[in-house]
């Protein structure tokens, strides 16, 4: 029987064993080094372990404050915050992109053809399909899925949005905040630092689901919410102003218009409407200039005959003339090599300041201006606030153009004074002009115009108190001017009442109310001369004359239908004052009615 011998063990060369030992030794060394690094020096890949742990565990969160709301004086919300859902998609999880696109398109107002590539792109895991969709749209998307959740692959994420529930309404005052929550126009921009609030921080250890672990020390700096702002705007007044603005722009095919309504005793702006308007909810759809520009503050124009009121006030205040002083109006007057005349070159004879206003005589105004004299004239121009900022709490205000004799000797001549006396050669902003007129309505005291009435932080409210800028003229002067302007307003009444009553004589402009008004037709400077084809028609005044509650400015830029502009502006002024007298519950005087006039009419 053959003996089976055990297989011979193959001899392993010694060098191989040495190599293996060496490798094991080197690996052992490396492992030991790593152990020392981790256990002794607490380092991993060049970073300290405690830092890595801290980074993994600790959560740093910026806590956003709530941006303050903006309301009108009665609490009507004009700007607020709302958390709306944005729709995101993880396209790798969408099984039928075409079908999903067709379902989503009408809900988020996008074309299905635009959505299909976004839903089909398997290389992108997170794409925003629509930002800030309406709650109704969000509900519809949830109904597409199961158990009240969006379909697989779609996500609704809440994101804060600044919204303007009134849309275009009062947008020139409220302004707009951009998508990052920074005010870029109006009150939103001017008070941005107060409205935006102060961000807070949260530093805490977190668990696997990124929730703070409460047993670990937590550092919280609470965010401070922004200030809630209450405007001086009265929504009813603002609505009336905007409706009238839209109506007159359409009727007259005007290039622009401005309606300003102020409370003379406080300087509070009750309504401010300018054309064109914009919707702050979609501010990106407008030119930046259209969003940022508030024509009531930025636009300068020659006030024309409305400035004669100011000249009358300065003359009476300085004693340069009295209400009974007369100058001769021959229709044209020759000064410094130029003929200066009335609008129709017709003379009015002897003119008192009241008659000068009534007939809107340029020739008489020039002579009254000369009687005031250069120094007093420009002293009072300055005191009334022309050529300088009013300081209204809105951005972008212009300061108008006044050629001061001392500051601009090259641009000023004796003729300038004459032109300025009837509102030419001087440019004002609507807010400047109405503020000055409000001083006359307010017994001679110039008030600071403002649009914010109150600022509230939580329940702590701080009222913005009316501020007296200065006393410009005495009460006696303004009393005299009120009388003149009331007579003046009666002069314009036939435009309103003549067609319905057949009475074309002077009569109350607003039936039952004593109202002050002065019109102006301003020429528009172009290329060193004046535009012969267009004018700016304006009316400025206040009501009731004896105890003014409102001061109103109506300005219509380049009306196409009304030759002098004032035929367009007076009806607007009449309608606004008529409705506001009722709104402010000011009882009419039943004895102050012309033949055929009815209170509140004509309708």
């Amino acid at each position: 029987m053959a003996q089976i011998s055990a297989p011979r063990r193959a001899a392993v060369p010694r060098w191989r064993i040495n190599i293996i030992l060496l490798v094991v030794f080197v690996m052992g060394l490396l492992t030991t080094r790593q152990l020392v690094l981790i256990q002794v020096y607490q380092e991993l890949k060049g970073r300290r372990l405690d830092e890595l742990v801290q980074g993994e565990l600790t959560k740093h969160v910026v806590l956003q404050p709530r941006r303050g709301t903006i309301t009108d004086r009665n609490g009507v919300a004009l700007a607020m915050n709302v958390n709306l859902n944005s729709l995101y998609v993880d396209s790798t999880k969408i099984e039928e992109p075409e079908k999903m696109a067709i379902l989503l398109a009408p809900i988020i107002n996008r074309e299905a053809s635009d959505l299909i590539p976004l839903l089909s792109d398997k290389t992108r895991e997170w794409t925003r399909l629509s930002r800030w969709i309406s709650p109704e749209a969000a509900d519809q998307i949830r109904k597409l899925g199961e158990e009240g959740e969006p379909p697989t692959g779609l996500f609704l994420i809440e994101e804060a949005k600044r919204v303007y529930p009134q849309g275009e309404f009062a947008s020139r005052i409220v302004g707009a905040a951009n998508y990052e929550g920074t005010g870029i126009a109006g009150v939103e921009a001017f008070y941005n630092d107060e409205i935006k609030g102060i961000t807070g921080t949260l530093q805490a250890e977190q668990d696997r689901d990124q929730r703070p672990i409460w047993i670990a020390p937590t550092q919280i700096v609470e965010p401070q919410d922004g200030v809630d702002v209450k405007l001086t705007i009265d929504s009813t007044v603002q609505k009336l102003a905007e409706d009238e603005l839209r109506r007159v722009v359409e009727e007259q095919q005007a290039e622009g218009a401005t309606i300003l309504i102020m409370e003379p005793s406080s300087g509070e702006i009750l309504g401010m409407a300018t054309w064109p308007v914009f919707d702050p909810n979609n501010y990106t759809e407008y030119e930046p200039e259209q969003v940022n520009r508030n024509n009531a503050l930025t636009d300068v124009y020659e006030p024309g005959s409305t400035f004669k009121v100011i000249v009358t006030a300065m003359g009476l205040q300085t004693g340069a003339f009295t209400p009974d002083t007369t100058v001769y109006d021959g229709g044209v007057v020759h000064r410094y090599g130029y003929d200066i005349g009335n609008w129709n070159r017709a003379g009015n004879g002897a003119q008192t300041p009241g008659q000068m206003l009534y007939n809107s005589s340029n020739v008489a105004a020039l002579q009254f201006g000369e009687m005031v004299g250069r120094d007093n004239f420009y002293k009072y121009v300055k005191l009334f606030g022309y050529g300088q900022l009013t300081g209204i709490d809105l951005g972008g205000e212009g300061q108008g153009i006044v050629n001061w004799p001392e500051d601009n000797p090259d641009n000023w001549s004796d003729l300038t004074l004459g032109q300025n006396s009837f509102g030419q050669g001087i440019a004002v902003t609507p807010i400047q002009h109405l503020t000055a007129m409000s001083a006359i309505a307010n017994g001679g005291t110039l008030m600071w115009p403002h649009v914010v009435k109150e600022k509230c932080l939580g329940t702590q409210c701080t009222p913005v108190k009316p501020r007296v800028v200065r006393r410009v003229v005495d009460q006696g002067v303004t009393d005299a001017i009120r009388g003149m302007l009331t007579t003046n307003a009666e002069h314009y009444a036939n435009l309103i009442w003549g067609p319905s009553t057949g009475n074309w004589a002077d009569q109350p402009l607003v039936a039952g109310y004593h109202v002050a008004a002065k019109t102006g037709t301003s020429q528009i400077p172009v290329n060193g001369g004046y535009d012969n084809n267009s004018v700016i028609g304006s009316v400025i005044g206040f009501a009731p004359s004896d105890n003014p509650r409102i001061a109103v400015l109506v300005k219509i830029d380049r009306p196409k239908k009304a030759q002098w502009g004032i035929e367009a502006a007076i009806p607007v002024y009449h309608r606004i004052v008529t409705k506001l007298m009722t709104h402010f519950r000011i009882p009419p005087d039943p004895n102050y009615l012309g033949p055929g006039q009815v209170i509140g009419g004509p309708q």
Partner: protein
């Protein structure tokens, strides 16, 4: 026959306890170690239970905060809807649908209300 009385161990211990209570309370080294371990265990258990309760309460608090925030957001949504519905344009439109019209001049009535005279407060002096 002599009778030997032998006490049982428990009885012996009771006697010793009553005779010298201080010696009974004295612990040896091993007793101290066992006692310390027991105390540490109890404290650890208490700490663990307390920590667990705090963490649970923290999560509960967090959940409540989340609900609070959610409710605030819902309130904002309603405020937004109210504000949108109370636009003057919308109110005018709804009023007209209801058949309401602005008052005409003939329908306006102005009344002068005579305020009562300020009552004279009788003085005791």
């Amino acid at each position: 026959m002599a009778i030997t009385q032998q006490q049982l161990p428990l009885q012996t211990a009771r006697v010793r306890r009553t005779q010298s209570p201080s010696s009974y309370m004295k612990l040896g080294d091993s007793g101290l170690i066992v006692g310390a371990v027991v105390i540490v265990c109890i404290l650890s258990l208490l700490f663990l239970a307390q920590t667990g309760r705090v963490a649970t309460a923290g999560y509960h608090l967090q959940e409540l905060e989340r609900e609070h925030t959610q409710l605030l957001h819902e309130a904002e949504q309603y405020e937004y809807r109210i504000a949108t519905a109370s636009r003057l344009d919308a109110i005018t439109e709804r009023a007209q649908k209801l058949g309401l019209r602005p008052a005409t001049n003939e329908q306006l009535r102005y009344s002068t209300i005579e305020l009562p005279a300020v009552p004279v407060v009788a003085s005791n002096e």
